[in-house]
């Protein structure tokens, strides 16, 4: 799960404070939080801001920093490579199972995998993917 997806998830779990409320609670400007949530490139370079957000949401600082390395375009690249090279990919979901299979399609929000094991097909939401690996 990218840093942006994780911050969006944390925001939802906290009752949905908007960016202005987060700014008032942390001092992190609204545009920074919005950028973190919405961008597909690598974001969240300022550790100080991430520290404040971690305190605000009550999660360890490292939970944010390691996700900073999993920005959305990296997942796009992995899905693209898996499909182009017809290689299976392993998607590890947040607090959930892992799916391993061939990419049938992928887009802005989801991907459909034909599982290697049982052969079934599942549509996985990209925001639920914590980690991934080309097999």
């Amino acid at each position: 799960m990218s840093l942006g997806d994780y911050v969006r998830y944390l925001r939802a779990m906290k009752g949905g404070p908007d960016f202005l409320a987060i700014q008032e609670g942390t001092g992190v400007p609204t545009y920074t939080t919005r950028e973190i949530e919405q961008r597909y490139r690598r974001v969240g370079e300022n550790d100080e801001d991430l520290q404040k957000l971690a305190e605000y949401f009550g999660v360890p600082f490292e939970e944010l920093t390691w996700r900073r390395e999993k920005w959305r375009k990296l997942l796009s690249e992995a899905l693209y490579s898996a499909q182009a090279q017809n290689r299976p990919i392993r998607l590890v979901l947040r607090d959930g199972p892992a799916f391993e299979g061939r990419v049938l399609w992928w887009d802005l929000g989801a991907t459909e995998l034909e599982l290697s094991s049982e052969g079934g097909r599942w549509v996985v939401q990209r925001h639920a993917v914590d980690d991934w690996m080309l097999i």
Binding site: W106, D107, L108, G109, R121, W122
Partner: protein
């Protein structure tokens, strides 16, 4: 009987800029239409007719040029003075030659002709009665309009799917694959088995969806809309 655009406009006592403001057709284009340099497009014809409160067939698609205005009668001659009369200037305005065809028009004509099996340079020249290079700009415009109209009638654009959008086609810029998947699943009446991020399960036939939500109808008829952000994964089951 249909009349020239400028005649109809004058009969309604409207100025070009008023007609432009009322119809939404640019002033420069109205001038071109009235000068007979362009055939009035169907869309503009409807707009102009509505603004002039006439039917579309009351206006000629291609206007005859307006007659040149007669010079207004001059002031009465001055009473003779002591000064010798200055020789009067005789302004001789040369008659205006019609604009010749533009090379881009010929290129466009030949490009459009390639899209029809029965149209080529020879047939266009036969229709015009002269080589394309000798056409006037206005004649070339008329031919272009004819071909474009025929193209619109014979080769209509493919109908758009509900999920077609004007977006950049970048890998992360489209969500059409998921929408196609859901469209097909809904049409086939498949049951969707959804697992949410909190581990809970939801099952039902797709009642509707948007880029951000999916609505499923459960066996008891209850409909539940779930935000995609709450979904971890799902699959369809055969009907």
């Amino acid at each position: 009987m249909s009349g020239n655009l400028w005649e109809v406009r004058r009969s309604k006592k409207m100025k070009v800029r008023d007609l432009a403001a009322k119809s939404g057709v640019p002033v420069s284009l109205i001038h071109q239409y009235e000068a007979g340099e362009k055939t009035i497009s169907q869309a503009h014809m409807r707009q102009l007719a509505r603004a002039l409160i006439v039917d579309t067939w009351d206006i000629k698609p291609l206007s005859d040029p307006k007659p040149r205005a007669q010079p207004a009668p001059g002031p009465p001659p001055r009473p003779p003075s002591g000064k010798p009369a200055r020789p009067q200037k005789t302004s001789k305005t040369p008659s205006r030659r019609p604009a010749p065809v533009r090379p881009s028009q010929i290129e466009h004509l030949l490009g459009l002709a390639e899209r029809f099996p029965d149209v080529n340079r020879a047939s266009l020249e036969a229709q015009a009665g002269k080589p394309l290079e000798e056409l006037e700009k206005r004649e070339a415009s008329g031919l272009l309009n004819q071909l474009q109209e025929r193209l619109r009638q014979e080769q209509p654009p493919p109908s758009k799917q509900p999920f077609d959008r004007h977006r950049a086609y970048l890998p992360e810029g489209v969500d059409e694959f998921e929408l196609k998947y859901l469209t097909a699943a809904q049409a086939a009446g498949h049951t969707l088995s959804i697992t949410l991020l909190d581990g809970s399960q939801l099952e039902g036939v797709i009642a509707g969806f948007s880029p951000y939500t999916i609505t499923v109808r459960q066996p008891r008829g209850e409909e539940i809309t779930v935000n995609k952000l709450a979904i971890a994964y799902y699959r369809k089951q055969e009907a």
